[in-house]
């Protein structure tokens, strides 16, 4: 529907001689960064850029109920309340918005949406952390306490052998807890930055080489094969530290789950506006029913094995969050008995 650009209300014969002043509503709300809607009755008469990006380009002229179908918004949209009202899941499943209304003129109202997602993410983090981390930390802690009690009780000061053996196990358990806490902290940092896109231009090739060097000195016969990478081609907008961590986690997984003596192949390619990093191992592979759940926190396809090789259950969760923050895509393909290929696609910087 074509929008009336001029308001003709109240224009009598006298006003006919000079044109009505242009309605400033459009440019005015356009200058404001948060999503704003102007309602004329139950129709949306104006929506600024932010509102159109959130609710769709089509919303101007539509019924407001079509654009904002959230049941919690109903009393506000019908004019019974002015809010604020919390709207869950608008523009993305984990997002939280606050909707409030104000009256401009009889029948005309202004709706304002405020983003509360970051606050919500922080709250959710806290809940998840308490639920999962306490469980994961309890296991090594129980073992530490057990060994400490045994050392206190038995054998006396002479038994240096037992003491050393116990201390080395305790050292291992304490380090496992430390790794877990490190991973949890980096995960929470990434999550906190989730809605703040990175800004630096990063060439992925040197980052990949840097990570590859960290894996160069391995004793168990596994080696890393790097495909051809040209400098200055795979340039993305990103956070260098996070991209380093992303590549490190993927390659370290490939080493953990690859067969002894088998190569891990990392390739970096550029295609269709994306930089594509793929890391393939030759190992036992992952059963198809586990694939959709791999990026869940603390999910392990084989819990015993993962713990034995020092996994925290957070590696791929971190990878997924970094990829999401960089607006990329993560794909894991696996064939049982053959191996697993992890592929990450990140959008290239427009040159």
């Amino acid at each position: 529907m074509a929008l009336p650009r001029f308001t003709r209300l109240g224009s009598g014969p006298i006003a006919e001689s000079k044109p009505a002043p242009p309605d400033p509503t459009g440019p005015l709300i356009e200058a404001i960064a948060e999503p704003l809607l102007v309602l004329d009755g139950y129709h949306i008469s104006h929506a600024n850029q932010a509102a159109r990006a959130l609710l769709g380009e089509h919303i101007v002229g539509d019924y407001v109920r079509l654009a904002l179908r959230h049941p919690a918004a109903a009393p506000l949209l019908s004019g019974d309340e002015d809010g604020p009202i919390a709207l869950n899941g608008l523009g993305g499943h984990d997002r939280l918005w606050e909707l409030s209304a104000g009256t401009i003129a009889p029948g005309k109202r202004l709706l304002r949406l405020t983003d509360r997602s970051a606050q919500r993410a922080a709250d959710q983090m806290r809940v998840d952390f308490v639920a999962n981390a306490s469980h994961e930390l309890r296991t090594p802690l129980a073992s530490l306490i057990g060994f400490i009690e045994t050392l206190e009780d038995a054998n006396g000061p002479e038994d240096a052998d037992t003491r050393l053996r116990f201390l080395s196990i305790m050292d291992g358990e304490a380090r496992r807890m430390q790794r877990l806490i490190d991973d949890l902290m980096s995960l929470s940092r990434i999550e906190a930055d989730r809605y703040f896109p990175p800004k630096d231009r990063i060439d992925l090739a040197p980052v990949l080489r840097e990570v590859a060097d960290e894996f160069a000195t391995r004793r168990d016969g596994q080696r890393l094969a790097l495909g051809n990478i040209g400098l200055g081609k795979a340039v993305v907008i990103g956070d260098r530290g996070q991209l380093h961590q992303l590549i490190h986690n993927i390659i370290s997984n490939a080493f953990k789950y690859g067969r002894e003596g088998s190569p891990v192949v990392a390739t970096l390619k550029v295609a269709k506006g994306f930089a594509r990093l793929s890391v393939a191992d030759e190992g036992d592979g992952i059963a198809p029913e586990h694939l959709p759940r791999l990026t869940e926190r603390f999910f392990r396809a084989d819990p015993g094995r993962s713990r034995a090789i020092g996994g925290t259950g957070l590696g791929l969760a971190i990878v997924k969050h970094i990829v999401e923050r960089h607006k990329g895509r993560l794909d894991i393909a696996s064939t049982l008995g053959v191996g697993t290929t992890v592929m990450v696609e990140l959008p290239l910087t427009p040159s």
Binding site: M1, I59, R65, A67, R69, H93
Partner: protein, 233 residues
Amino acid sequence: MATSGHTVKAFDEDLGELRAMVAEMGGLAEAAIDGAVQALTRRDAEAAARIVQHDKRIDELEAEVERRVVRLIALRAPLADDLREVIAALKIAGVIERIGDYAKNIAKRVPLLQDMRGIEPLAILPAMARAASEMVHDVLNAFAARDPEGALEVSIRDREVDDLYDSLFRALLTYMMENPGNIGASTHLLFIAKNLERIGDHATNAAEMIYYAATGEQMPERPRGADALAPAA
């Protein structure tokens, strides 16, 4: 369509109201899915009872949509894309009503699962519920925007929900075999997973109608996953 405008302005008004009503139903159904699964994971029987109660509103709206569609067709005799749009609104309202029923069904099982603490496969359900409710969310966005591309994308995503269902099915089966005492609770969870899987299917149905209403053509056949009944090639 509203963008071109009809000589009879009232038709645009009627159609707009109809679409807004379908969107309102959709919003209620979306909230019901999310709420039901949240009530399940929190074991909140009161919240579950509220969801069962709210389903009545979806049913009322569906009856109202039906009444209005009949009146609209009788009074305005819409043709071509107008007729497709009116029929699509009617059919989508029916689909959403089913989706609301599935959510209600999930909520009804919450009191029966009050002591299921620590069922490990339960961790998959929120992921599956999320995938299904995102499909519903996106299909309603496609409906509001009359966006055939968006609808097509939703129908492709149905695979994801099906995969999660298979994953949960296996996990629950193992869980039941390990301890027969878990069979009662696990069976309830299995029905819940089936409901979520059906929600995904219904979202796909709605996507097909949106595609048809917007383009006048049937949605192209999409590649399906392994089908146990497919004739061997």
